[in-house]
């Protein structure tokens, strides 16, 4: 190895380390703040470790702290029902993801493996949805939900995304086109109908891409903010993203309970971080794949 190559590698590694630091530091900072005492933090804001270590912020975020305890750490009076918001997020993202992946898989099977009149035309029409940004359909969809009386319900949050996703259909169809026909034909010779082939052969073979889509869809729904903001203003159905924003906006900037808010943020991000630990590798590879195709 020449000196210049070694120098180059050194530079490259330093660059990666800087990028990693910038990427990860905010996550550490959430944790550090969430374990600090608000009073103490304002006297020692640059301490890299939690200031006056305390579980108080987590207790406040989860609604376990008494008002006296909260006041002692300069916690805010603003309430956030984190457990409820967490549940709402799970229902919203869970049901929507399940529906959209299942319905997309069925449609993808029909487009990829069955021959029927009008197939390519219908597929082409559905694909046009890929070109239209969601912003354009959001407002009219809100009006539709209002007309249907579905504001502030899970139905209103879930329905628009539950049945149809152009990207998911496209992605799964692409995969199913590449599957070998041999097993399928053997089954057909044995007298299996298209539905049986779909559920017994093609869908089981497509578990891997369906899992990938489930993951991606769940993440994006979990993190969605705009649509829930439009259709809900009631705590009973409000998902986490919205609950956090409301919590921040309802307290004055000067006396914001940063420690409590960061604790709540951490709880909100935790399911995603967990998914990351379990599926991180698959996620990295699937991003590469979805992008290229």
């Amino acid at each position: 190895m020449t000196t210049s190559m070694r120098l180059g590698r050194g530079l490259a590694w330093s660059y990666i380390i800087v990028i990693l630091l910038v990427t990860i530091f905010p996550f550490y900072w959430i944790l550090r703040t969430a374990l600090s005492n608000n009073f103490a933090m304002s006297t020692d804001p640059s301490s890299l470790l939690p200031v006056h270590f305390t579980w108080g912020p987590f207790k406040r975020a989860l609604g376990l702290a008494t008002p006296a305890e909260a006041a002692l750490e300069n916690g805010s009076g603003a309430k956030i029902d984190l457990a409820l918001a967490l549940w709402n997020s799970i229902v919203y993202a869970g049901i929507l993801t399940l529906c959209t992946v299942v319905f997309s898989a069925l449609a993808a099977y029909a487009f990829a493996r069955l021959r029927w009149r009008g197939r390519d035309l219908v597929f082409g029409i559905l694909l046009t949805a890929l070109m239209v940004p969601s912003v354009f359909t959001l407002l009219p969809n809100f009006v539709l939900m209002k007309d249907l009386g579905l504001l502030n319900t899970f139905g209103g949050m879930i329905l628009p995304g539950a049945f149809f996703s152009a990207f998911n259909i496209f992605f799964l169809r692409q995969f199913m086109l590449g599957l070998s026909h041999e097993v399928e034909e053997a089954a057909i010779i044995d007298g299996a109908g298209p539905l049986r082939v779909c559920f017994r052969i093609v869908l089981p073979m497509s578990v891997a891409p369906m899992a990938t889509l489930t993951l991606l869809q769940f993440i994006s729904t979990w993190n969605d903010y705009f649509w829930p903001l439009l259709v809900t203003n009631d705590e009973s159905v409000r998902p986490l993203t919205l609950a956090l924003a409301v919590f921040k906006q309802s307290s004055p900037q000067a006396s914001l309970d940063w420690a409590g808010l960061m604790a709540a943020t951490l709880v909100a991000a935790l399911p995603m971080l967990l998914l990351f630990v379990v599926f991180g590798r698959r996620l990295v590879n699937s991003i590469g794949f979805t992008g290229i195709k």
């Binding site: 905010p26 912003v135 539709l144 628009p160 086109l177 298209p194 073979m205 960061m262 991003i287």
Partner: protein, 321 residues
Amino acid sequence: MVTTVQDSSAHVVRGPATTAPPPTARRRKGPASRHNDTWIAWLLVAPAILGFGVFFAYPMLRGVYLSFTEFHILSPPVWTGLRNIQELINDGRFWHSLGVTAYFVVLTTILGVGISLLTAVVLHRLNVNTTIRGLMILPFLISGVVTALVWTWMLDPQLGIVNQLITWIFGEPIKFFGSDAWAVPTLAALNVWKSMGYNAVLIFAGLQTIPVSIYEAGRIDGASEFQMFRSLTLPLLRPILVMVVILNVISATQIFDIVQVSTKGGPADASLVLQMYIYDKAFGQFDFGYAATMSLALFLLLVAVTFTQMRMARASESDTN
């Protein structure tokens, strides 16, 4: 038989190298009669078609219709022809927000794609493992709301850690979200922070499809690292770079959550991106007709920008073939 199928499935998901699906085997007319497939096919696509019709096509047409009406949600829309468009043309705030959006899009795209490209190339040359790439996509997993909250805290003029550092070096803090000049660049930086890892992983996957032998040949010819990047990597990477740029422009044009949570368009409209203005018109002032007109304008703008980009870049072909 079954094993080959499983192998190929594993491949398609894991390896970007085999992304092009193998040419579909010509389907023979099976011995089983297939005349009843049509009904089943329609049954299977029915939910998708229903969703497309009710929650996409109909709202879209309705959106176009509402653009030409006066509509305040409580009473039915009233057709006003081109009045909204006239209003749009004379609306200084609209043009201002368009400018803010364009500024934001240009900043995030240039910065974001630039840093992502550099990161991907360095990661690729150093041959780092999946774990490091994985850590880089962490911000992609969290919501814009969380991103905005953390950075608002870290950039807080008094107590934020970043401003502690800045005060220590330069003597006074920077009001990142609170000043006209800094608001949009700060939001752009947040957006870059959130999307950089994702873009880098996309570009990285593109790099993996470039055969190593090309670089070996280049090295034998005595090309320097930089020369190889410029005349081998960049041209071969062009299709994926174009895609990353287009995806970035589309999502940046519609930016909303980090703005709404951190600045709400302020101070004094300095970061009033278009989507923020549309939201404000519709839900702050209940002027749905005009908000729909602006959405239509934003949509047409996106279509125009995307087509221009695709034409300019000939996205479908890389320079080599």
